[in-house]
């Protein structure tokens, strides 16, 4: 059984002028009046009633330029670059916002249209400070591309050379440079509508309009959750990630430093985009070689701690369930996943009263950091103080997470740098590496190789799928393949905003040895789970998370859940704020396909079968999952932040 909460315009928080108020597109083209004919540049077509001119043109293979339009966001119609001539209309019409409800004739590139577009561009460029070659979006900038397409060869209305705004680099994750802003307001719609966080808004009027935070506070003093979705949707360099690559290079070049990097699953399905490959081209093992080539001493797979997370978080869930069902204690359920640092900060700001529901397990990145500077340092005989732990992540919030003050359980800063996919791509370019042509290389021990259960963490539903594979096997003693064909837990996959699944426990087996290592375990058999139905849910994007949490607070369906996976970013990590730009539903679907294909290709696809994880418990975390040692290194606590920050 699966259910879905649809996002509807009525609950959208986007400024009303920038959303909704579009004629609904006819769902049934077969119905009478379901279609309407349109002629664009002389080409006739029938389209569903209400289709915008832009969508109709694209379906015909005609290109209309856009800037404020984004496939993930509501229509704004503010940049006006997409204007076209509609026969019978006195003025030019924004193709992105004009719904076709009667037969019309459209011209997309008349002299009038070209002159208007060119001047609109000239106006934008007059306020866009800076030169392309000093810009990190050089050759990946929508404004630059349009300037080229429209043959901008001089600044008709001048060009500002002097900065007017100070760069806001107060955040660990997101950097704002308002001198590059062209006021398309995609970031506003991303933040307030797609994510329902609402950090950014347009203030001021006329040519004094600017995008601002509450009271113009720096980004680290507002409720920003660092998800970086605004970065992925900014057409220029007004928004970017805080880039640590200069420091990483310095450490790489320092012979006294032992620089290691762990790599999360999602970047490998996307880094090819930095090298002109189509989205969803996996380069996992090419990347390993390349990272070694540019000077990283060891390359580890975050899959290892993803699997570890499953064991720790799964054990924590079983303990909570036992407390609730058998000991009849008042324990916080459903348990929320805690691997997405954007989601964690969202909860800390908006629902601090729900923090007890968050799993205390650290995210895979932070578990890895703590183990690198303890277990690995010990094993390799390296002074942890000389180890520089980098993390390749799809996520801008990971940059913030590794700087949380509590993240130093190893006695050092557990993770020194959070690098995102785009930045590693940049480092490869700088080193002259043509990534797709690199030979394949393996991950380094003692953390083993990639596993299917770890790799699917990169997609929404992946954590839940990995957890189900493990919990079902540990509790029932059955093989997951006998419950779900090929071990593919299809009900939790997909891109629906919220998925709810009920999973009857078909049998009970023995409590496995792995769990028995924890001597404090309050149970020695699974009888108390006999006949139980595990209720789980998956949700991605904080707008959907908000619905689920509100539903829980209201005692709805989701309050009956036992375990819920939350990811801050739409699509999960593969849609993260550190991934290559641009993003769209199609790009994210292609990355997901690559991730699930990797999963199917790996030998080990269950967290509890990862030999490196088992070895870790045998050699290092000897008091087992959720034991004292693991509590010290692998678990954490949270900070109630609230919405009002002094």
């Amino acid at each position: 059984m699966s259910s879905r909460i649809e996002r509807t315009a009525s609950i959208s928080r986007a400024p009303v002028s920038q959303r909704g108020h579009v004629v609904p597109v006819s769902a049934d083209p077969e119905a009478i009046g379901g279609t309407v004919s349109v002629t664009i540049d002389g080409i006739e077509a029938k389209v569903p009633l209400g289709t915008t001119i832009l969508d109709a043109a694209r379906a015909l293979g005609l290109k209309i330029p856009t800037l404020c339009h984004h496939p993930d966001l509501e229509v704004a119609g503010v940049c006006r670059i997409c204007v076209v001539e509609v026969e019978g209309q006195r003025t030019l019409q924004a193709a992105c916002a004009f719904p076709i409800t009667s037969p019309i004739r459209v011209q997309t590139h008349t002299r009038k249209v070209r002159q208007a577009r060119r001047r609109i561009l000239d106006l934008m460029l007059s306020k866009h400070v800076g030169e392309c070659y000093t810009c990190f979006r050089n050759l990946n900038c929508e404004l630059q591309t349009l300037a080229k397409e429209y043959g901008v060869d001089f600044f008709r209305f001048g060009h500002e050379a002097a900065r007017r705004h100070q760069v806001d680099d107060s955040s660990y994750s997101v950097r704002r440079d308002m001198d590059k802003c062209i006021l398309c307001r995609r970031c506003v719609r991303t933040c307030i509508d797609l994510q329902e966080v609402g950090v950014l808004e347009a203030v001021g009027r006329s040519d004094g309009t600017r995008i601002a935070t509450f009271l113009d506070k720096p980004l680290n003093d507002v409720v920003c959750i660092n998800c970086g979705q605004c970065i992925n949707r900014c057409p220029t360099a007004a928004l970017g990630a805080m880039d640590p690559t200069d420091d990483v290079w310095i450490d790489i070049n320092d012979p006294k430093k032992h620089v290691v990097i762990q790599t999360a699953p999602a970047p490998r399905a996307a880094i090819g985009e930095c090298f002109g490959l189509p989205p969803g081209t996996p380069l996992t093992f090419e990347m390993n070689t390349a990272m070694k080539t540019i000077g990283f001493d060891r390359v580890f797979d975050t899959n290892f701690t993803a699997d570890l997370t499953i064991i720790e978080e799964g054990t924590e869930l079983l303990l909570r369930l036992h407390e609730a069902l058998v000991q009849k204690k008042d324990v916080a359920l459903p348990q929320f996943t805690s691997c997405s640092p954007g989601w964690v900060k969202y909860l800390e700001h908006f629902y601090p009263e729900m923090i007890p529901n968050l799993s205390t397990a650290k995210s895979p990145q932070q578990m890895f950091g703590a183990l690198i500077k303890t277990f690995y340092a010990q094993k390799a005989g390296i002074d942890p103080a000389s180890i520089v732990a980098c993390a390749l992540m799809p996520c801008s919030a990971k940059k913030y997470e590794c700087n949380r003050p509590e993240m130093c359980d190893s006695g050092h800063k557990d993770v020194d740098y959070g690098l995102v996919t785009r930045e590693l791509g940049q480092m490869f370019h700088e080193a002259g590496i043509d990534l797709p042509k690199m030979p394949k290389g393996a991950f380094d021990d003692p953390f083993g190789t990639a596993t299917g259960s770890g790799v699917i963490f990169g997609a929404t539903g992946g954590v839940m799928e990995a957890a189900i594979r493990t919990v079902v096997e540990l509790v029932t003693g059955l093989k997951i393949e006998d419950v779900f064909a090929h071990a593919d837990v299809l009900p939790v996959r997909g891109f629906d905003g919220v998925r709810y699944v009920e999973l009857p426990i078909p049998a009970i087996g023995e409590v496995p040895d792995l769990l028995k290592m924890n001597k404090g375990l309050p149970f020695s058999d699974w009888k108390w789970l006999e006949g139980a139905v595990l209720k789980v849910a998956v949700c991605h994007g904080t707008a959907n998370a908000k619905r689920v949490v509100e539903d829980i607070k209201a005692g709805g369906t989701f309050s009956k859940c036992h375990f819920i996976e939350f990811m801050a970013c739409p699509g999960g990590c593969l849609g993260g704020g550190g991934m290559p730009i641009p993003t769209s539903p199609e790009i994210r679907a292609a990355r997901a396909k690559a991730i699930y294909a990797e999963d199917a290709s790996y030998e080990i696809r269950k967290a509890h079968e990862n030999p490196a994880v088992i070895r870790l418990y045998q050699e290092f975390l000897t008091d087992g999952p959720c034991g004292e040692k693991s509590h010290h290194l692998l678990h954490t606590h949270y900070t109630p932040r609230g919405k009002y920050i002094a």
Binding site: V78, R80, K112, I120, S126, A202, S206, G208
Partner: protein, 396 residues
């Protein structure tokens, strides 16, 4: 001091509730047919046929519909709605009630300009009195119509006179125009069908129902029927609110208000056009020079470049900042006018600015940006010798 000249309709001795009684005695379709037959067009400036608007809203199916009176009179040089709301508020509310009957609305909103807050008390009293008399509320005058009006205050943004920005403001948002279509008659206040009409339009509609479409059509021209209130200001002997039949020539109006010898007239306020003396034979009508009623007379000694600068300063203040052409364009035009004043604007750059003005007219999102270059463009067209050739010290 604004003198009010008695006229044919709005300030004529109307029989109270004559129009409302006539409307309630007839089915809605006939009421709309009467308004349509009168050829009444919106008095706010855009001139959309009122009957058509009401008909579209009546045809929309929705559980709730809204009648909104646009009393956000913000166009520079316009002050006739203020006078109507002072002298004949009942006529406006009567028109709104007729509209409610016509489109099937139960609630109305009077969106009052922030600067007119001092009118609020007296308007609330009028509303209370009408409720007492059974002219608002449940079962108005024994009919099945239930309708009430509340007053909501604007906050001083000119753009909120644009109907979709007004609706945004009503909903508590930044006053920014929406994409159209869909139009408010389908998807307006709270996404429900909404008609937004000017104060004077409602007053006219009430008179149409009272005296009949034929009577109304007898005033004005074939295309522009009825009388119109004009807010006359500037270099003339008798500024004030005047009522003339539509179709009066500019020269005729100037003669009546004592503005002979003017060198130009700004018709339609800051967003209107500047008409030079050579064209004073043109009519004030939808087929001539259309206007929401603002007439600003410029005497022979006025500096037209200063006029252009003044209007552009206004738009640089009042653009909502949403769309590129209006947000950046007005600032560029103002910068250009200042360059002209200092003798630094080349012939070629002036042509660039004219082209920019045309692009703003064509590509801006709403009527504000589409009309903001009008004054500049018409002054450049008609007074080029006067505005060119300045030196940094002053006039050439």
């Amino acid at each position: 001091m604004s003198a009010v000249k008695k006229g044919l309709v709005t300030f004529a001795a109307a029989v109270p509730e004559e129009g409302l009684k006539a409307a309630l005695a007839r089915p809605r379709s006939e009421v709309i047919a009467e308004v349509t037959a009168s050829k009444l067009r919106g008095r706010g400036g855009a001139g959309f046929p009122t009957g058509v608007k009401w008909n579209l809203a009546a045809a929309a199916t929705a559980p709730a519909k809204w009648v909104v009176c646009n009393a956000d009179e913000g166009e520079p040089g316009t002050f006739k709605d203020r006078v109507i709301l002072t002298e004949a508020p009942d006529l406006v509310l009567e028109g709104m009630t007729i509209a409610a009957w016509a489109i099937g609305a139960a609630r109305g909103i009077l969106y009052l300009r922030g600067e007119y807050a001092y009118l609020r008390d007296s308007l609330e009293k009028v509303l209370a009195r009408r409720r007492e008399k059974g002219l608002l509320g449940t079962g108005i005058l024994g009919s099945p119509l239930s309708f009430d009006v509340e007053i909501r205050m604007g906050s001083g943004a000119y753009v909120c006179g644009e109907e979709t920005a007004l609706i945004e403001s009503l909903e508590g948002h930044r006053g920014e125009p929406r994409n159209r279509p869909p139009f408010p008659v389908d998807c307006g206040y709270r996404s429900e069908p909404t008609i937004v009409n000017n104060v004077e339009t409602f007053a006219c509609a009430a008179m149409v129902l009272a005296k009949g479409a034929e009577w109304f059509r007898g005033i004005g021209t074939e295309v522009s029927t009825g009388p119109k209130l004009f807010s006359v200001s500037g270099d003339c002997r008798e500024p004030g609110v005047w009522e003339f039949p539509l179709g009066i020539t500019i020269a005729g109006l100037l003669a009546a208000v004592g503005g002979e010898g003017a060198k130009a007239v700004q018709v339609g306020g800051a967003s209107g056009r500047c008409v030079p003396a050579a064209e004073f034979g043109r009519t004030l009508a939808f087929e001539g020079v259309p206007t929401g009623g603002s007439i600003i007379v410029f005497g022979p000694r006025r500096d037209m470049l200063h006029v252009a600068e003044n209007f552009l300063e206004f738009f640089v203040d009042e653009s909502c900042g949403q769309c590129t052409p209006c947000r950046e364009g007005n600032a560029k035009l103002l910068e250009g006018v200042r360059m002209l004043r200092e003798g630094r604007c080349s012939w070629a750059y002036l042509q660039e600015l004219q082209k920019l003005g045309e692009v703003m007219q064509l590509a801006s999102k709403c009527g504000l940006g589409q009309s903001s270059p009008n004054a500049f463009l018409s002054i450049v067209e008609h007074f080029r010798p006067e505005i060119m050739g300045r030196t940094a010290g002053g006039n050439a």
